[in-house]
Amino acid sequence: MSMERSIKQFEADRMDAVKIAARLLLASATTAPRVGGVGECTIHILDDECDIEDLCQKVEEMATDNESWQFFLRDAQMLRDADAVLLITSLRSKTDPADINCNMCGKLTCEYLREAEELPREPAVAYPGPLCIFRANNIAYAIDGMISLARNLGIDYGLFWSAGAAAMRMGLLPKNTGFAMAVGISVTEKSPFRDIPLQYAHYNEKTMHDRIIRRLWPQFRSIYS
């Protein structure tokens, strides 16, 4: 077997590993505890690079919707380097409060929460609240279940709410989704979610490759050949 073929085989196996890992993480997130024992979270896997690109473009688009979301540009760039993205939803936080009157939402009772005016569905609003916080907290347990296993499997991971909000806006998630977050995973030698320099949206592996290899190297070849 030539070296080139074995390297291609490694790349194919690496992507298989991503698909298997993503499904195992889904299992761990699904069986993680839920408050009150009531199921309400779903987990969705994006492991096609075109689907991930669509999501990243939506995240980038949202960066201009609210001046607090400038970091969405950085998130999108990090997610472009993810091998898979897992989206975690809370299906009851919007429509089905927990009925325990916990007051985490500040409405004292769940009845008052039901009657509360909802934020308008505007570009500058990521999650039109108020949500039942007690329900939405289930996402924390699902995410930690996922991350706990990712650590055991040696999979690199990153946690992003921007991509969860973007997926909701794209209509990728169940219609009752009130809150969603995303976990990007990567099976690469250098985690794309760590060591992120400033201005990463402008200076990253893709732009460096485009600038140095695709642009300068052909000119160098033309001139010095």
Binding site: S68, C102, L119, G129, Y141
Partner: protein, 216 residues
């Protein structure tokens, strides 16, 4: 060679695991990169107070009453309670809208609502961070072989009794080194007759079949 008895070993092991749980919660993944949670563990005396408080809520909350009764049983064997709390205001400046306010600034300016369970309104992401910490603690306990369950009720009680102070939101992780897992299938709290009565009341059509509208 010094001999250590099983009870001594179990108690010391439990104490060490609780410390490791606190460490796992302290270092758990979080949004915003800042750890603002507050953690304490409580002893038998505080657990008795929490149990009595929960039991006293029986009229309002059967769930709290059940958990109160449960804790009385729990403290008969080696156990511990890790209480994790956090403040309610947002420092993220995400302006995400999940709390029902358009911006974090609006949330932070909103009137604080007091109750026995939590002070709201609170930032969704602070809640997520606090529960990520609780989950990390529970995960550590599970891996180290302790019986474990996350309780909101004990957390609420600890807040109401001011056992944990300077926080607005609380959750608790209860662990036990009992000989039988005490946290699940707690059938002993119900007699068969009571269970059947409450089941038939809550799910009347299950045994009766659906017969349309009922005239009271």
């Amino acid at each position: 060679m010094a001999i250590r008895e099983m009870d001594d070993l179990v108690q010391h092991g439990l104490d060490r695991v609780v410390e490791l749980m606190a460490l796992a919660a302290h270092n758990s993944i979080r949004l915003g990169g800042r750890n603002t949670i507050k953690m304490i563990t409580v002893g038998r005396e505080e657990m008795e107070m929490i149990a009595e408080f929960c039991f006293s809520l029986g009229d309002m909350s059967p769930l709290a009453a059940r958990d109160g009764r449960h804790m009385i049983d729990l403290i008969k064997e080696p156990c511990s309670l890790l209480i994790i709390g956090d403040k309610r205001r947002s420092y993220f400046n995400y302006d995400c809208g999940a709390c029902g306010y358009r911006t974090c600034r609006d949330l932070n300016r909103a009137e604080q609502m007091e109750s026995l369970t939590a002070r709201g309104p609170s930032c969704q992401f602070r809640n997520i961070n606090m529960n990520l910490a609780a989950s990390a603690a529970a995960c550590a306990a599970w891996r180290l072989g302790l019986h474990c369950r996350v309780f909101s009720t004990f957390g609420f009680a600890a807040l109401a009794l001011e056992i944990i102070e300077d926080v607005d939101l609380v959750v608790s992780v209860s662990v036990s080194a009992a000989k039988k897992d005490p946290y699940f299938d707690r059938h002993k709290f119900w007699t068969t007759e009571y269970w059947e009565e409450i089941f038939n009341k809550e799910f009347p059509t299950y045994n009766r079949g659906f017969i349309g509208a009922i005239e009271e």
